[in-house]
Each structure stands twice: as structure tokens, then as C-alpha cells.
């Protein structure tokens, strides 16, 4: 039998925070009182929240035990499609905690924070160089906020022309954030059906693109892991009708140093620094979603902007056409610092190599699993490959069962049931930081699970069996929501 790293480990129970502790305990090193007490206005005074009082050891044991119930990239392979779960370098964490970077107040006068501003300014330049675009704002705190920024730029652009455009084209394979972001800006999404080969058909765009349509939002490579080869043609069609092209850069990890987005005809795009540029996901965030634009749209970028004037870095607010501010200060600065570190540690050649190896790993998995699983689209993939659940039907097991059994074998499952256009989708993105032995082992385990399905399908339906908890009742959670304890 093929053995993955999964085993049943040492798992300790741990109650909720408020089920522990005793009033009067404290884990906080209380500063010395060196000033007198001043009376507080009694009509406004409160009694403080109902927080548990815990000792330092209570807190340490609590979070240490919780951490052992979690799985991260540092624990093992995390081939979650569209999420680019690559290794998060340790040195970046250390640098982000340097006192000048981590303790700087965001409203310091420029003369006191030149170093902070220099990092922002240079990162803007690096991201422009990597995408081929002309100007960058680092403010958006995540990809979806980057999309919102982009759509606000679209809206501002058409407003500046005195045009009213109410629709936007979005392929059916797009992330849900695309239509949600567009709708926030008053654009009605028009769904574009993917062609038979899983990519966009330019003739469909030609048919739907009109003078009421602001343009198109597309992800390239798309969420099927396929390169949209007609992107330039599509962009020309959109531009011919006065529209703009938005590029969702969620899958940038496939094409660094390989594709120039400006040459593709993209006008605005966002990047996910927590995907392509190795900053950790933190169990859901914080991320960063910088927005890159072409020269013509630069005047609409959010303020403030960080610019260089006579060898000094300054915070500029005076851009009358700007869409305004998206973040309380400069964005998720600590995340930006980590991405800066990654880019400097990699350099141009290794960024390109990273994309090449990410694509190699995905194609290798695609090739090695194509007999065992059913390929959604039989053509070379980029950084991820997508299978359907067709080959699982004969065992009466589902994509979910396969995913849950992978947990028992010690892997985080791939993205499942997305994109919606593939029945029972299994979307595998290995990233470049997985080595060949680990990929071979993963492939062997997937094959093993499929043979398990033939022998004992019920075991898959009952999986996982080796985790702290078995499958959780999501129906109960949604029917009788219990959101606080």
C-alpha cells in the first residue's frame, strides 16, 4: 500500500477560552502606574466586557493546542487550486518584524519615514516591471479590493468621457469576486460561456461587446489552468468598442517573465501578493491586492500615491481625477514588505524559473493522473490542472469523498467543485516549491485512493478518520446559526 505522511497523531482536547480561567488571573504584564488617577465621567462609564481572566500559561497552552489541529504549507503539500499555496520564506517574517518597519506610525512626517516610503515606491516599480504595466497602487488589502479598485477606475474613466456604460462581460469560469466587485460599481455582469476547449471564444465577445458595455474582466491563465490564447484579439474587440480590459492576476504565478500583460491588451489588473509573491495566507488573510494600470489610466489611481521627487520619497494627494482612498493608510504594509523581500531574494531569473517549474509540476501531475482521473479539458495546462468526477461515478463516490480521504493520507485537498463549469471539479495547483518526490508521492496516494474506492467505497464516504474531528454537520450550522459562544 502507498503510504502518505498521514497518521493519527497526538491530539489534545482544548475548551473554548471562556471555559477556562479564573477572575483575577492575568497574562498581561501591567505597566507601572506613574500618574495619579483622574475621575471619569460616571454617566459614560461602563463595566468592561465579559472577557475571561487567564494566566500566561493558560493562553500559551490554549493556542499551542489549537495550532496542532491545523494544517499549513509548512506542514505539507497544499495543492489548493487557484490559491498558489507556495512556501512562505522565513526570512520575510523576520524582516517584516524589524522595529522600523513594524512600529512606524503611518502619519509620521515624510522626513522620518523615508525608508518605509522607499520600500513602497520600489515595490510599485517592481510590480510594474513584472506585469509590463505602467503604474501601480499598493493600497488594496486583498484581491477583491483590487478588483473593486479596478472597477472604480473603469467607472471613473467612463464618467470622465461622459459615457454611461452599464454592463460588463465576465466569463463563466471567473471567481465570484469578479461579478461581486463589478456589481458594487454599478455594472451588470453578462456571463460569457467558455468555448468547448475551456477558453474564451472571441466571436462570443464580438457578439456581446457594445457601446453600453464597459469592457471585460478576465483571468489569464483562467481558473481551468488554461491560457486564454485569444486575449489579444478579445482586447482589440473590446477596445474597438471603446471598452476597457480588466485582468484578474490571481494566476500570475504561471506567467512571470513569460507574459506581458500590457502587450496582451490589459488596461487594469490586480495581483495577489499572498499567492504569487509568497506572503502567507494566515488562515484567510491578511493579503494584498495591488492594482497595475496603463499610462492612460494612471490619473485615476487611488490616493495617496508614493512618488519620488528629487531623490526623496513623498506622499502625494493632489490628483483630482483619482477614485480616492481605499484603505485607512497605505494598505497592508507588512504584507507588502514580505513581497518586496521575495522579489529581491528571487531576482528576475528565478521569478521566471518559478513560473516555469510551477507549470512543469502541474503538467506532470496532469500527465501522471490522466488515466486515473478524468481530465476536464485535454490540452496542456499552465500552473494548475482540473479533473472532473466522471471516473469516480462507477464507485459511487464523490469528489468530496476523494478530498476527505486525501486528508487521512496527509494532504490538504485540492480546490473542489470549482470552477462550476466542470462537474465535480478537482483543481490541483502544486506550485513550484513542491519537489519531485513529494509530487510523486501525492500522485501515488491519489491512485491509491481510487483503488480504495474500488475495494471499500464506504471508507471514502466516512473519511477522514484520522483527524481530531470527523466530518462536520454544515447543514446544522447553517440552519441554526451559532456564531458566538
Amino acid at each position: 500500500m502507498t503510504q502518505g505522511p498521514g497518521t493519527s497523531g497526538l491530539i489534545l482536547e482544548e475548551p473554548l477560552l471562556w471555559e477556562k480561567g479564573k477572575p483575577g488571573r492575568s497574562a498581561f504584564s501591567m505597566p507601572e502606574r506613574d500618574v495619579p488617577e483622574t475621575p471619569i465621567p460616571m454617566d459614560l462609564a461602563g463595566d468592561g466586557p465579559d472577557f475571561p481572566d487567564l494566566s500566561e500559561v493558560d493562553v500559551v497552552r490554549h493556542y499551542t493546542r489549537l495550532s496542532t489541529w491545523n494544517f499549513g504549507v509548512d506542514t505539507g503539500m497544499y495543492p489548493l487550486g487557484s490559491c498558489t499555496m507556495k512556501y512562505n520564506p522565513k526570512i520575510n517574517e523576520k524582516i517584516a518584524s524589524f522595529p522600523g518597519l513594524s512600529s512606524a506610525h503611518p502619519l509620521l512626517e515624510e522626513s522620518l519615514c523615508q525608508g518605509n516610503l522607499q520600500i513602497l515606491f520600489e515595490l510599485q516599480q517592481y510590480l510594474a516591471a513584472i506585469t509590463g504595466m505602467d503604474a501601480v497602487s499598493l493600497q488594496p488589502a486583498a484581491g477583491a479590493q483590487g478588483e473593486l479598485t479596478g472597477m472604480l477606475i473603469f467607472a471613473a474613466y467612463f464618467r470622465s468621457l461622459g459615457e454611461k456604460r452599464i454592463k460588463i462581460l465576465i466569463p463563466d469560469t471567473a471567481h465570484g469576486t469578479n461579478p461581486a466587485s463589478a456589481a458594487l460599481c454599478g455594472f451588470k455582469p453578462v456571463s460569457l460561456k467558455s468555448g468547448n476547449d475551456g477558453t474564451l471564444d472571441a466571436t462570443v465577445v464580438k457578439e456581446l461587446m457594445d457601446e453600453e458595455t464597459a469592457g471585460i474582466m478576465l483571468t489569464n491563465p483562467n481558473t481551468l489552468g488554461l491560457f486564454e490564447e485569444s486575449i489579444r484579439e478579445v482586447a482589440d474587440l473590446v477596445h474597438a468598442k471603446g471598452g476597457l480590459v480588466y485582468g484578474d492576476g490571481a494566476n500570475m504565478n504561471a506567467v512571470m517573465g513569460i507574459v506581458d500583460f500590457k502587450r496582451c491588451g490589459v488596461d487594469v489588473m490586480h495581483l495577489n501578493l499572498h499567492k504569487t509573491f509568497s506572503t502567507p495566507h494566515g488562515g484567510g488573510g491578511p493579503g494584498a491586492g495591488p492594482v497595475c494600470v496603463v499610462e492612460e489610466l494612471k490619473r485615476f489611481l487611488p490616493v495617496p500615491r508614493i512618488v519620488e521627487q528629487d531623490g526623496r520619497f513623498v506622499v502625494e494627494h493632489d490628483y483630482p481625477d483619482s477614485i480616492g482612498r481605499l484603505h485607512g493608510f497605505f494598505g497592508n504594509y507588512g504584507v507588502l514588505v514580505r513581497a518586496y523581500c521575495y522579489i529581491r531574494a528571487m531576482g528576475a531569473a528565478h521569478l521566471k524559473k518559478a513560473s516555469q517549474l510551477a507549470v512543469l509540476n502541474a503538467n506532470y501531475i496532469r500527465q501522471e493522473l490522466r488515466e486515473a482521473l478524468d481530465l476536464a479539458y485535454d490540452k496542456p495546462c499552465m500552473h494548475e490542472c482540473v479533473f472532473s468526477d466522471k471516473s469516480l461515478h462507477k464507485y459511487k463516490v464523490s469528489t468530496l469523498d476523494l478530498a476527505k480521504r486525501l486528508i487521512d493520507h496527509g494532504y490538504h485537498p485540492p480546490t473542489i467543485y470549482f470552477p462550476l463549469v466542470v462537474p465535480g471539479a478537482i483543481m490541483i495547483e502544486p506550485t513550484e516549491t513542491e519537489c519531485r518526490e513529494d509530487i510523486d508521492q501525492f500522485i501515488a496516494v491519489v491512485k491509491e485512493i481510487i483503488s480504495e474506492a474500488g475495494q471499500d467505497a464506504e471508507m471514502l464516504r466516512q473519511a477522514p478518520a484520522r483527524t481530531k474531528l470527523r466530518r462536520l454537520d454544515e447543514t446544522l450550522a447553517a440552519r441554526k446559526p451559532c456564531l458566538i459562544g
Binding site: 467543485y417 447543514t475 447553517a478 440552519r479
Partner: protein
């Protein structure tokens, strides 16, 4: 999922091609979803209903049914004004799964009589399901 011959489709009801049922009693029409619709949706976790007094034209969306990972709109088979909503579903949406006919969703006062007449009989609805 149920096979078509396992579905419970009462003879006395009328059906729409969006998988709602309707029953007329005096001047009021009671509306719910069919056994087929509840079976396709799976475990229903929330029913979003209109307010009493809201008016809809035939085919309008009058609410949604949610499962854990999907949202389905429900469309009114006969136009009219809402006179009652089934408040039991607010706390116990699972009732729709248990019995989609006892557990109606809304009652309306129809605008005209004609629309009800154009709905499908059990037999025609069954044909529709068989495709």
C-alpha cells in the same frame, strides 16, 4: 436523489415548469415547491419569503431557498398579492424537505383567474420531468 417514479406528486395540485405547486381554495391560492424541487436542492437551510402585502406578476421571483452551498430562486406561478407567509419555515426550513406540500410557502390573492388555469396538471408536469 429520487428516481422520477419515487416522487410524490399529488393529483389535486397544479404545477409550474419552475417546479412550484399551487392549490386554489375559494379566492386564495397556496404556493409551495414540489417534491422534485426539494429533492434537487438537498437539505434546505433557509427560506427567504416576501412580506404580506407584496405584489408579484406571474413568473416573478418571490423568494429564495438556500442549501449549504447553493441559492435557488422561487418564481410565482400565478400573479397576485401575498396574503400569508408560512412563518414556521423561518425557524424550521427543514419542514420543506420533510413534506413540501403540507409546508406551503405563501398564500396569495390572484389578480386574475386565468393564470391558475394555465398551470400544468400532475400528468403534464410528470411528462415535463421525464423530458
Amino acid at each position: 436523489m429520487k428516481e422520477i417514479n419515487e416522487l410524490n406528486l399529488p393529483e389535486e395540485l397544479m404545477y409550474s415548469d419552475d417546479h412550484e405547486w399551487a392549490q386554489k381554495e375559494d379566492a386564495v391560492i397556496t404556493i409551495g415547491i414540489t417534491d422534485y424541487a426539494q429533492d434537487q436542492l438537498g437539505d434546505i437551510v433557509f427560506v427567504e419569503m416576501p412580506e404580506i402585502g407584496d405584489s408579484f406578476a406571474k413568473g416573478d421571483e418571490f423568494g429564495t431557498l438556500e442549501s449549504v452551498k447553493a441559492v435557488s430562486e422561487v418564481f410565482i406561478p400565478v400573479g397576485g398579492e401575498v396574503v400569508a407567509v408560512n412563518e414556521d419555515l423561518e425557524d424550521s426550513p427543514e419542514l420543506v424537505n420533510e413534506d413540501p406540500y403540507t409546508n406551503w410557502i405563501i398564500k396569495i390573492k390572484p389578480v386574475t383567474d386565468n393564470e391558475f388555469q394555465t398551470l400544468l396538471s400532475r400528468e403534464k408536469y410528470l411528462q415535463l420531468l421525464k423530458g
